[in-house]
Symmetry: C2
Subunit: 463 residues, 2 copies
């Protein structure tokens, strides 16, 4: 009746079913403008429902202007309400060519989640939730929880000797968001950015998605080649001085001095991305560039590598000149971070459990690095050398006489080996074709062993 | 000794203290380039520490290039490593003029947090955390948890009759982020956006922060005046058809048809912001525009108003043509949302507890709205009228012969009344000067009573 088929067992109220059915017919032009709907009494009888149910449906149509009604005359379809529904698009099947299962995963930037103190963290989260004051379930501002900002300041002091005021620390949803917001702040109005080449592809993609002009500066085993800096029309320089990504160099003191002077002379901000320097296997963490000029350097850190990526908590240390703009931008980007993870992390830092976790993981990752290097030596003999400082969750390796081009990477995928080359991360292609990147932090000894053996087979043409 | 003062009880290791102290003196130029450091044996003796401690500090300086060393000769300060430290900036005191305490808070868009099922939610979060597969502590992609996307699709069907494919639903960190990403996608390369005037100031600021050109179209009591649409150079139209913000109108069916046709003819996407239509006090929720053309309309929803703002979970329903670009942008904006809140919300939806919570809150907010209107009638008599549909957490009121300009808003602040005017939300100023906005959702009956009485005193010059 009237094209209305009621399902009485479903989730949807009868009123809504009547309303939807009529609405659809009106929109599709099955009931034309000016045409009268049946009286509510009549339709209720036909459908076997209460008159009230039909009245409500008609009121909804009336409120939305699909129908018009005046005292004493029937309810009629309004003018100009018909729209032909477009054919529903075919579901997009994402047909990816079948790739063989991964047998060795040398992806970079992956912490070992199996060693994450899951139970401890569960208790902290629960406590954080239960003790959270009610007003913090509402909007609490773009800066982040004051307690977490204080704990990060204390931690930066005891782990890296940095003196940072907590009010200069702004919590973010991870380092990527920090870099996204900073480049929004500093690289608009045709201002470009100076970056290391090779660099982290993710960072490069953040910049490219904003159509920011990129000025690449080559990197050698000591990091950014500061003698190649030129006063381009840039708003910032992006660097990874504690552990260059991906080549692993520590920026030496003389280059640091040049960099700071260059930034001052050209009125640029330096973005210092300290993505994994907690994991340094000889000596203690490198002193951040930030200490040399807190007015000029924006320090970016993350807990994705220390704890787990899905935590989505990072931070940026900003000079006061940028506070106001940052708060405005963050508010209008995604308002703020959720408070529970922040409170749990504050507690984890305050109790020094994070320090102990870092220590434990540093030992573990250090052993894996050692194993990887000794296996490489045993398997490949000479003809290869590691690049960069003994730090982080990955290593760059140069192999004499090998070229890790796109064809190799494709071939390795077919062999079930997931790895990237330094060339993948290069803006100016071809300079680092002899270098491969192996992420090892997340791999158990057996996985490392198997991976190296598979890699050897691939590189020596046995697959 | 050498300007090194060791604190043996602190958090910082002796090695790090030695390293930092020397580093600072080198950077500041107190120890000059070429100058020799004391031998490790000598310094260890002077400081009363083990030689190993000093050796490690020297190795750190060496690794960072502050000093150079060659077999048999003393460790010397490297060339070009001195930088004058700039004077540390004065702490910025944010001196805000003293504002009187708030006695009545009519802020819009505030759900009542006191009625949020906190204990229930705590259990859900805990369960979500404990049952979370380990790989979801890592990176899991920009789309959001599949389970939550499915539950939102089911909920959109049962609450609004929308047929949405779960793979078209993309989880966001709230509606603001959805709008931010959508405008990044659609309004770059000099493409502007058509928006309602008045509109939500937050949305306007999102657009202004991106320097997107805005084409305002006036709103009357039925929402966007579609007859005033012109084919500007725009990439999208932003509308709130279910409950226009701030005036409260429901876009009638004939205007909906015009809007859809306009968007098709001009190859525009329509952004439908359905920010609070769950709370409609007569009849059921209005049918979203999305149903009329899923290829052309992007539907944006949020759980900030239904549950609590700090949850930071919203979503956008996107046509397949925009999936790829969305995933790229989200990945390079903040990667993904944390998974725990998502899993808890999926469970809350799946168990229908959210439906019951919405029902309960709708009743509560509806009663508050009724009380507010009856108090207004008792207090102000005639000479005022409410605007828009009976829905949402706020109401727009027109008062005959009153002008709610900036001077009034300032005066109300001084009287301890927090409210905004429609003019505050207008792009073209002066059209809606007679209209005030009162948010009531978060106010208990006594707070509403007190607020209205204070407002009356203010408007009639008794304060």
């Amino acid at each position: 009746m009237w094209g209305i088929e009621l399902r009485r067992s479903g989730d949807i109220s009868l009123t809504r079913q009547i309303y939807q059915s009529l609405k659809e017919q009106i929109t599709r032009g099955y009931i034309l403008s000016g045409e009268a709907l049946p009286s509510t009494r009549e339709l209720a009888k036909q459908l076997g429902v209460s008159r009230n149910t039909v009245c409500e449906a008609y009121e909804m149509l009336l409120a939305e202007g699909d129908v018009v009604s005046s005292q004493g005359s029937p309810t009629r379809v309004a003018e100009g309400v018909c729209v032909d529904l477009p054919p529903h698009a075919e579901p997009m099947e994402t047909l990816t060519p079948s790739t063989p299962p991964i047998r060795a995963n040398f992806q970079t930037g992956q912490p070992d989640l199996r060693h994450f103190p899951r139970f401890q963290w569960s208790q902290l989260l629960r406590k954080a939730y239960e003790e959270m004051p009610l007003d913090q379930f509402g909007y609490t501002g773009p800066e982040g929880l004051p307690k977490l900002r204080e704990e990060i300041a204390a931690w930066l002091f005891r782990s890296k000797g940095l003196t940072v005021r907590s009010q200069d620390i702004f919590i973010t949803a991870g380092a990527t968001q920090a870099l996204h917001l900073i480049s929004e702040m500093l690289c608009h109005r045709a201002k470009g950015i100076i970056i290391e080449d090779p660099c982290h592809m993710g960072m490069l993609r953040v910049l490219r998605s904003k159509e920011v002009t990129v000025y690449p500066v080559p990197v050698d085993e000591h990091g950014l080649q500061t003698e190649q800096l030129e006063p381009w029309n840039a708003g910032a320089i992006y660097v990874t001085p504690s552990h260059q990504f991906p080549l692993g160099g520590i920026l030496p003191a003389n280059r640091r001095a040049v960099l700071i002077r260059f930034a001052r002379e050209n009125h640029l901000y330096i973005i210092e991305d300290d993505y994994d320097s907690e994991f340094r296997y000889c000596g203690e963490p490198v002193a951040p560039l930030y200490a040399m000029d807190p007015q000029r350097v924006i320090y970016v850190g993350t807990f994705s590598k220390i704890l787990f990526p899905a935590l989505r908590v990072g931070y940026a240390v900003l000079p006061p000149t940028l506070h106001r703009q940052w708060k405005y931008l963050r508010t209008h980007t995604d308002v703020q971070s959720p408070p529970f993870e922040q409170a749990a992390l504050a507690e984890y830092l305050g109790s020094r459990k994070l320090d102990r976790h870092v220590q434990k993981m540093r030992r573990l990752y250090g052993e894996r690095r050692k194993l990887l290097l000794s296996l490489l030596k045993d398997t490949f003999g000479t003809g290869w050398r590691p690049w960069g400082d003994a730090a982080g969750l990955h290593i760059a390796l140069a192999f004499q006489g090998f070229y890790f081009d796109q064809e190799f990477i494709q071939r390795s995928k077919q062999a079930g080996i997931f790895c990237t080359s330094v060339d993948d991360h290069s803006i100016c292609k071809g300079r680092h074709l002899d270098k491969l990147l192996l992420g090892y932090g997340h791999l158990e000894p057996d996985e490392i062993r198997k991976g190296i053996s598979l890699l050897y087979e691939l590189m020596n043409g046995h697959t």
